[in-house]
Amino acid sequence: MDKPDTQTEEGRADSNGIGNIGRRGMLKAAGGTALAIALAGCSDVLLGDDEEVVDVADVPDEPVEAGLQTFTEGPASVLGLQAQFGAEEAVRRINDAGGVAGREIELDVVEEGDSWIENYSRFVDDGKEVTFGPISSGGHLDLVGEVEAQGVVNIATDGTVTRMFEEELDDPTYAFRFQNHDVMEAASAALTAIEQLGADEIDTYANINPDYAFGQDEREIFNATIEQLTDAEEVYSGFPELATDDMSTHVTSVVSEEPDVLFTSCWGGDATLLLSQGQDQGMMDATDIIVGPVLYGSANDFSSGDIEGNIWSGSRNFYWDFPDSDRWSPGRELFDAAQEAEDTIPTAHYMSGYGAVTCWATAVEGLVDMLGGWPEQEQIAAALEGHGFYTPAGYHVMAEDHQCYSNAHFGRLTWNDEMDIPVIEEMTIRDPREVSPPPGEISVEWIESWS
């Protein structure tokens, strides 16, 4: 197999990746505060005993009250609980490192249900200084107007509506999103398929995506990308009901079409169902490659029989074992923390929660340093624009369109017999600039401008 010419474990080149930045360099880039270091996952090495808590007279004594709305129940709790665990881990680390400019964080978690506006309003009424969430994309669209009107910063943990910051929100102030521009994962999926099979070898492709706006968006971007780069033609597109209990008809259709590539943005129980019913019906043999950007989100639910075959999965902006956790301890530490606290494999949604909290905390800490006092919401919002920070996943930038930019992870889904968990191997990591349009541009138009 040809080595892809993007950065890989072996061939990291670009400065935006975490690859060639040493820990000391990172410390510098992170602004040097103890908090930033702790959140980047290097506390044990760098802080030692001389951790220094910022001590500013104008910082209030009481803890920072924060709210997170996420799916704690229902099919989407597969994602939502991961986000909650991640956010809680970040809060733990912040508080262990002395808080944000000396203030600890108290995080309230509430089920988002379908009450995004009510939850946020309640948080604001209760005096929360910052809010995180939701997972639901529809919920995020519901929410942002409210956030803009009420003026307490919200950093969404998911809410993958492609057009959100491209079209819906011009010039937002208080609404941000840590994860994830879904263009990056859908485009990465197409690029992965092309790398693996070769552009000339792909004649047909099929889609199975959950029947809601996210699934439609992912398909649109995947199709745009693959059709831009190959002469392939779509032979099937199915939209199983979200959280359905049977996909066999869709699988039957795919098997009978024998497409070269199958793209799926199914997640949670849908992903396990699709793969296990796919195994039953020989879908892995009927296709040359299956690419699924969110398959690894179900890492905790797969069994080895589900993922046999040429299945490539994305892990959005974070995969715990990349770089190899033997060499990159922050990944290993986060994995261990998740195992210890919740007996779970941290997935990309773990990072959604972790990153959202980190983004806010590092920005505020820096701001307190600069202002010499606790900042107003407006100041925090302004500081978040263009804010760069590290997590164990690497470097992230909250761009001026309020969409965070991070590396995209994609690799082969395999079973690790030793640990008895699913892992991703042959990881390819793509710079956000490669798979996300620059702020202000529309994803599909941007892809169609590729030559």
Binding site: T72, V110, S115, G138, G145, A149, V161, L169, P172, A213
Partner: protein, 386 residues
């Protein structure tokens, strides 16, 4: 406000034709009105009192009030009422998104028009049916609309639609009575909308009261109690049920339209899903569907519970389930409908404390019976029916 069996002897005050209240009732109504008007002022003093919740509760209650007409008079259980609430919300949102209107009143008008038209169309199909078939058929229509909304990219699928200017996620709210609001004035916008809601609430309660007391109301009651006889006194049963259904959809439309204007963003899960229909139904029963004010109270109470229990415990369904169970067994006429019984019960016990002893006895008997039932059940399971 409701005053079903007023005795002639009591001194009453005539508010309007057919609306007589005794002095205590009038006082209660006035206090209630003042409280409702002051909610925006006093919400800050109470931790759990939220204008949002209260406002939404009133709106759900208005939809439940429309449903109460069917429940109370025609004795038909509609299990698809979300169709009209959601239909209204979507009707308004479509005007914003596809026509670009940003006048709140026009949006509300479109909402009411759309949901009434839909109730008119669905009513034609369902008016022939009774009992559980009526419930299931209305449920099917409701789910069909949900399926359409969630499957249609034009309607935003699961993401729904925004009622902000340009249909954008952070656009300005619509104008009300010619007043333009910016995004930052959303609080003021909602306040104006709240008082407008109160106005419409009072109007719709009075109208519903009159409908229930009218010859048309009597005819519906006749239909509910004996369809055959109703037919043979010359009442065109299906047409009248159709009419009542349409009126009920009209109420759903006002409520849904105002809900859309309040939320400024709507989606299928929160407005059209089958469990939303269930909630509207249970609000009507919870508050007491035989009264005018009951459904409104049911709406406020259930909305309050749904919004608040969630913040207290992860297991809010359990808590709400147990509360509903209690309603069935302890307050069958609903909260408002049972207020008289509760008052009487308390008065007897104050006058005659010995009654309390009897209560303990009743409770004991109930417990013993429950245990006995459980034992019989186990026997049946082990040995079958005799």
């Amino acid at each position: 406000m409701s005053n079903e069996d007023q005795s002639e002897e009591k001194e009453t005050i005539r508010l309007m034709k057919g609306l007589h209240l005794t002095k205590p009732q009038l006082a209660l109504a006035l206090v209630g009105l003042v409280v409702v008007l002051l909610v925006p002022e006093i919400e800050g003093f109470f931790d759990n009192l939220q204008l949002d919740t209260f406002h939404n509760g009133i709106l759900w209650g208005m939809a439940a009030l429309g449903l109460a007409l069917l429940l109370n008079k025609t004795e038909l259980v509609s299990f698809g009422h979300a169709a009209f609430f959601g239909g209204g919300a979507y009707g308004g949102a479509m005007l914003v998104n596809f026509v670009g209107v940003d006048s709140g009143l026009l949006i509300l008008f479109a909402a009411v028009f759309f949901s009434t038209a839909m109730a008119f169309a669905i009513g034609w199909f369902v008016a022939d049916y009774v009992a559980i078939y009526f419930a299931l058929l209305t449920l099917a229509f409701g789910q069909l609309l949900y399926a359409i909304a969630i499957g249609s990219p034009t309607l935003g699928q699961d993401e729904g639609l925004r009622l902000r200017s340009g249909g954008e996620a952070s656009g300005d709210p619509p104008s009300l009575f010619g007043i333009e609001f910016t995004l930052q004035q959303q609080g003021e916008y909602r306040l104006v909308l709240y008082y407008f809601t109160i106005l419409l609430l009072i109007a719709s309660m009075i109208v519903m009261y009159r409908i229930m007391k009218s010859p048309f109301g009597s005819a519906l009651e006749a239909i509910g109690q004996n369809r055959t006889r109703a037919r043979f006194i010359g009442i065109p049963v299906e047409r009248y049920v159709w009419g009542a259904f349409t009126i009920s959809g009209f109420y759903g439309g006002i409520a849904g339209g105002l809900y859309g204007l309040r939320q400024l963003s709507i989606g299928p899960e929160g407005t059209l899903y089958v469990f939303v229909s269930g909630e509207i139904l249970f609000m009507a029963i919870l508050g007491g569907f035989q009264t005018i004010i009951g459904p409104i109270i049911g709406g406020i109470v259930l909305t309050f519970l749904l919004d608040n229990v969630r913040f207290l415990t992860e297991h809010f369904e359990l808590i709400i389930g147990i509360l509903l169970l209690l309603v069935v067994f302890v307050l069958p006429k609903g909260i408002w409908g049972s207020s008289e019984d509760i008052k009487n019960g308390l008065m007897t016990r104050v006058k005659n404390p010995a009654q309390l002893g009897a209560d303990v006895g009743t409770l004991q008997k109930m417990l013993i019976n429950a245990v006995r039932n459980a034992i019989t059940t186990i026997k049946i399971i082990l040995f079958g029916v005799k």
